[in-house]
């Protein structure tokens, strides 16, 4: 098993190098001379030439990429053009916020979608099934920023049950932290919850048709056991793969939700830096997000092989 994990981990390296190459090209493709942005009013031809030399911009592109890649891998991500702070420090400070948001949103989606999916599948075409399917279709079609804006207005501004656009880190107490994370996590998790509910329902409907479920019933097991133990276990296996694919949407959604709720995470950092043309921060934001997506898919792969050992044999 350990060797299997290691082999999969090594296979990530070419993709990671590819990601860095794309980001490098992206930053170079931005119109305008970066020297011009850095020097701003101090611009002079000699100074620009000096900076070009210092930053290696007069070297061949391949050499530039390798120098840049070395910096990325060794943690030398440069300084923010706005705050002059090292980019990696800012990212390290904000990463836990985004990770917490993603975990909470995913947990919210999974915790609610499993029972909803089961309820729907146990009695297909019943009232509860129709209601859940209608609501979940609405949930899939609802953009995060609209749902978030509605929740913000109703629960934070009108009812004042929850804080609006402020943030308390975990170190400020678990309860206070969760109170501030509740609306963002629900906003981010809702569409995924709706999607998982539909998936689990379809997957359950396929499983309960199989012979071994008849066998379990024939043994005299209670319906509760048949559904929740025998059927659900197998129905969840395909869902895990889909969760992997959905993590990409969660990462994209986190960017929007963080900006809307002013959470100090990686996503809002990325958007702010893009709007301020702070490119060292932009490239760190993209690389961290894409690498996170890569690692999340890797983790899902591993979990999947645990759930379905047949895959390891292949």
């Amino acid at each position: 098993m350990l060797r299997f994990i290691l082999r999969r981990l090594l296979a990530l390296i070419p993709t990671f190098v590819g990601i860095t190459l794309v980001v490098f090209i992206m930053i170079r493709a931005i119109p305008g001379d970066p020297i011009l942005t850095i020097l701003a009013e101090d611009y002079s031809e000699e100074l620009a030439q000096e900076y070009r030399q210092k930053m290696g911009l007069d070297r061949p592109v391949v050499v530039q990429y390798l120098i840049w890649l070395k910096g990325m891998v060794t943690g030398d991500w440069g300084n923010s053009l706005i705050s002059q702070e090292p980019v990696i420090r800012e990212v390290a400070k904000r990463l836990p916020v985004t990770l917490e948001l993603l975990v909470l949103a995913l947990a919210f989606a999974v915790v609610f979608s499993v029972p909803f999916g089961v309820i729907s599948a146990v009695k297909p075409n019943s009232m509860p099934d129709h209601t859940l399917m209608t609501v979940s279709m609405l949930g899939i079609s609802l953009p995060e920023f609209f749902l978030g804006a509605l929740l913000l207005i109703v629960f934070a501004l009108k009812l004042q049950w929850l804080p609006a656009t402020s943030f308390v880190p975990l170190s400020g107490g678990l309860f206070e932290n969760l109170r501030h994370m509740l609306l963002p996590a629900v906003t981010l998790g809702s569409a995924r919850m709706a999607m998982f509910t539909r998936l689990i329902r379809n997957s359950m409907l396929e499983v309960v048709r199989q012979d071994y479920i008849d066998t379990a019933r024939a043994k005299g097991l209670s319906e509760w056991l048949v559904i929740n133990k025998h059927a659900l276990k197998n129905a969840l296996v395909p869902t895990v793969t889909v969760i992997g694919l959905q993590i990409g949407y969660l990462i994209g959604g986190a960017i929007i939700v963080e900006s809307l709720f002013a959470l100090p995470g990686i996503g809002s950092l990325g958007i702010d830096s893009i709007l301020q043309r702070d490119y060292p921060v932009v490239q760190a934001f993209v690389i961290v997000s894409a690498t996170g997506f890569l690692l999340a898919n890797f983790a899902v792969d591993i979990v999947y092989t645990f759930l379905d050992p047949r895959i390891r044999v292949r």
Binding site: F145, G270, I274
Partner: protein, 282 residues
């Protein structure tokens, strides 16, 4: 004759599902609204009515007016152009580029396939929305550039789908037969392979139009897509946000427009998928 009967079957299966019919109606209604925006909108999208700032919904202004005294209904109607335009144009463009790439990749295999699929894999390594943002960083923010970005984001997804279809049909005897007849590759592609790809591509186009509409609105909401004063549901909601507690209608109506359109597209896509091939579920 065969072709017509396939579409006939699909259409008959589609209209048997009430939700799919609802989706189809909503979608057509929205397309109609987008086309006829100039005729049906009571005011121009940027027409500022004097002394009419922040009016709540009334008979004269069913969706109220905004901070500049513009009629929200007229802006929502014109916003349909940007949303549907970007959503449909980008997905049609992406499929027009992605289908040939997928056919070439799946038909010739070997090094062509290797190279194309490595590029596709690399692009799929980025989450959809992140890749769209990255492209918007390079391009300047505007509705047409959002369409370009979403086209680029979706090309690899169409290429991958079509390649899979081609790989599974290229071993069929009828392909071998037309090849033995000496028919040129482009004729094989066009008349013998392409028709097999239409159904799965149509399902993906429909479902991804919904994603594209949300992506356009989200980019505009973040200030990286359609720029004001061009009416767009996403950027209008962004502008409404600061005063939405006092004037909820400013955000609610553009938001509902997105919800309704995407819901229609999703219901249509779901119905289409079940009608074309129930096995495509998931």
């Amino acid at each position: 004759m065969e072709k017509r009967s396939m579409f006939g079957i699909v259409f008959r299966r589609l209209v048997r599902r009430k939700t799919a019919v609802f989706g189809l109606l909503v979608f057509f209604l929205m397309v109609l609204v987008a086309f006829l925006a100039d005729l049906i909108a009571p005011y121009g999208p940027n027409e500022m009515l004097e002394g009419m700032q922040y009016r709540p919904p009334s008979f004269a202004h069913p969706m109220g007016t905004d901070m500049l005294g513009r009629d929200v209904l007229s802006r929502v109607i014109h916003g349909a152009r940007v949303s549907l335009g970007v959503g449909i144009v980008s997905m049609v463009a992406a499929s027009l580029v992605g289908i040939p790439l997928g056919i070439i990749s799946g038909y010739y295999r070997r090094w062509v396939d290797q190279i194309l699929m490595r590029v596709v894999d690399l692009m799929l390594a980025f989450p959809v929305f992140l890749l769209a943002i990255m492209i918007m960083v390079v391009l300047s923010p505007s509705a047409s550039n959002v369409a370009v970005a979403l086209t680029i984001v979706y090309i690899p997804r169409y290429a991958r789908l079509v390649r899979g279809v081609v790989l599974s049909i290229r071993e069929n005897e009828y392909i071998e037969a037309v090849r033995a007849l000496g028919i040129r590759p482009w004729r094989i592609f066009l008349f013998h392979i392409l028709p097999n790809c239409i159904a799965p591509v149509m399902v993906l186009v429909t479902i991804s139009v919904g994603v594209a509409i949300i992506a356009e609105a989200s980019l505009s909401f973040l200030g990286m897509g359609t720029q004001p004063p061009t009416p767009s549901w996403g950027s209008d909601l962004r502008e409404a946000l600061t005063t939405m507690e006092l004037n909820p209608w400013l955000g609610i109506f553009p938001g509902l427009a997105i919800l309704l359109t995407v819901l229609g597209v999703n219901l249509l896509g779901d119905g289409l998928r079940d009608a074309i091939d129930p096995r495509l579920k998931q």
